[in-house]
């Protein structure tokens, strides 16, 4: 089973590399440094939200409220800005508010024992609604250029890279490393898999299941808050409807990366590859003037095929081996 899983991760990573190479060769303007920056900016929110989402799905739960938390912090950011708070205060404040929203999810799920899918469908509506309450139909747009410019800008202290490395890439790499190491090389990571695969056995092994899950939701909320800030700065527009629908894109990417929706299985490199694959493919197809509708079909088909193909291949291989065994026994 672990071998099969490994092949799923590897398959996605290989496929991603393949798509990147083919696109660079075959699609005009794909391999340019400016397009690279555009791509990184496009995948920024998905990849950041996907990090804690991977943890949560590995423990067998889900958080559908992330995009709404993002919208809420974006709204609040605009509200605070209108009320004269400084950006340096607003950013940590928004992250904390995101964490509080996550903590509320966590409390309902671990404290009251409600199913996470149901709870976060509820808070998906609730947080988006609160975002509307805060900012209503207005948008706040006059954020300072040194912040909005940083999010869309590229590293300037690396002149020989010629503006090829977007600033936010550093953030992505650092956070991905932290989350990756925690998931794959620490006792916490081990306990997450155990919780996802068998919460009762984890409890018997002295793992504090409820507390761990609670903190995952807090982290998920905090990251959503951070992404709310980045989103607002990137588009220099604080609005209540920012990021609507992002949750499905994130869940799709995480599943594409080989994480089992039932918990206990999956790896972070796979998820990262999943996000990159989806974004790169969409970018390349857009450059080739493939319509948005066809993008839908491609995304959907990719999601299904990425899981279907390894299964089909392994079952064909299994049948073939069995037949060989039978033949050798007969002779």
């Amino acid at each position: 089973m672990s071998r099969k899983l490994a092949s799923w991760d590897t398959a996605i990573i290989l496929l991603t590399v393949l798509v990147l190479i083919i696109a660079s060769l075959a699609v005009d303007n794909f391999g340019t440094s400016r397009n690279f920056t555009f791509m990184v900016l496009d995948l920024l929110p998905i990849i950041l939200v996907a990090l804690p989402m991977t943890f949560i799905i590995v423990t067998g739960e889900i958080d559908l409220s992330v995009a709404s938390t993002l919208g809420l912090t974006s709204s609040l950011m605009g509200w605070f800005w209108n009320h004269g708070l400084s950006i340096e205060t607003i950013i940590p404040l928004c992250i904390v508010i995101g964490a509080v929203a996550g903590a509320f999810n966590g409390f309902l799920i671990t404290g009251l024992g409600l199913p996470s899918l149901a709870v976060t469908i509820g808070t998906l509506a609730l947080y988006r609604g609160l975002a509307l309450v805060v900012l209503g139909d207005s948008a706040v747009a006059d954020f300072p250029f040194n912040y909005t410019g940083w999010v869309t800008g590229t590293l300037s202290w690396l002149p020989w890279l010629d503006g090829a490395v977007p600033n936010v890439l550093i953030l992505i790499v650092v956070l991905a490393l932290i989350f990756g190491v925690i998931l794959h090389a620490t006792p916490i990571g081990r306990s997450l898999y155990a919780i996802g695969a068998n919460a009762q056995a984890a409890h018997f092994a002295g793992i504090r299941v409820a507390r761990t899950k609670f903190w995952l939701y807090v982290v998920s909320g905090a990251v959503a808050g951070l992404v709310g800030v980045l989103w607002t700065l990137r588009y220099s527009s604080a609005r209540a409807d920012n990021g609507a629908g992002l949750e499905l894109a994130v869940v799709a990417a995480v599943l594409l990366g080989g994480v089992s929706i039932f918990g206990g299985k999956g790896s972070l490199p796979g998820v990262l590859a999943g996000v990159v694959l989806l974004t790169a493919l969409q970018n390349a197809l857009r450059l080739e003037d493939v319509s948005g509708q066809a993008l839908n079909i491609v995304t959907g088909a990719l999601l299904v095929l990425s899981v279907l193909l390894p299964n089909v291949i392994s079952s064909i291989r299994g049948n073939w081996q069995r037949r060989k065994l039978r033949q050798s026994a007969a002779s």
Binding site: R34, D42, A139, A141, S236, S237, A244, G292, N296
Partner: protein, 335 residues
Amino acid sequence: AGCGGTTKDNQSSSTDTQTSAAADPNAKLKEGLKIAYLPKQLNNPYSDVETSGGEEAVKELKGEYKKVGPNDASASSQVSYINTLIQQQQDVIVVAANDPNAVCPSLNQARAAKIKVVTFDSDANKTCRDAFINQATTEGIGQSLAKMALEQAGGSGDIAVLSATPNATNQNAWIEVMKTELAKPEYSKLKLVKIAYGNDDDQKSFQEAQGLLQSYPNLKVIVAPTTVGIAAAARYISSSSYKGKVQVTGLGLPNQMRQYVKDGTVKKFALWNPADIGYLAAYAGAALASGQITGAEGDKFTAGKLGPYTIGKDGEIVLGPPTEFTTDNIDKFNF
């Protein structure tokens, strides 16, 4: 804000990228221009009509027409498409902004890459486009809405507005004008009881219309300044016991409204010809790209069959007054 952080008051304003080359009114319109349309979202019948006008104009101009766009009306997906258009080095981007500010940095990147940006339907911040095709003046539409409401209510009574999303730029501007209008003495017997939002979603608008009638038994007119809202409200009224008692008016597409005009649910509604908007945008874009105009106030150009236009304040180009549709003339229109 005493701690020296970056606050609203001490930020430096962003740089103005307005081009200042002089216009050459005698420049010939270039052929082979790549003109790309980016509506608010694809598969919206209204914007399909708009862009069909654009396609016609681009053909006349012997240019390359292209239409791209997201499936959802969000600013963030539009930005991805603007980025793609920059990469593809289009000559003109004609865009209906989903958020006036969110698309700004990308549009300015496009202009830095020598692409002309024309907005239509819904404007972007004026610092990040070269021209804006306005279907009608905000005042014109607001006044026309108020006038139609007064007529249909028979001079007095409760009216309600069924709008698009709570943060739709156009609708909010029109509603504001309508409110100022209603404050005038000749409207004193009209009472605006509620502004409901159907989010430009057919079903939500339908349910909001239901809610209005349940909450306000004395309602006389629903004013829906959006094509989705007016169709949904008309459909609900035409199939309910309120038919004939409550009037629906606002902005709608003749094809969608024909049935309700004929069955008496709707007496009068208004709209400009959307195809002309796209048509005009193509000519404005071509004129910009050919150096005929720069987008400055007073520049003049000719837009094919629509004739001559002059650029107004802030780069605005006004299409003309809206058309009113009634039983008498509706069969003359097909869009």
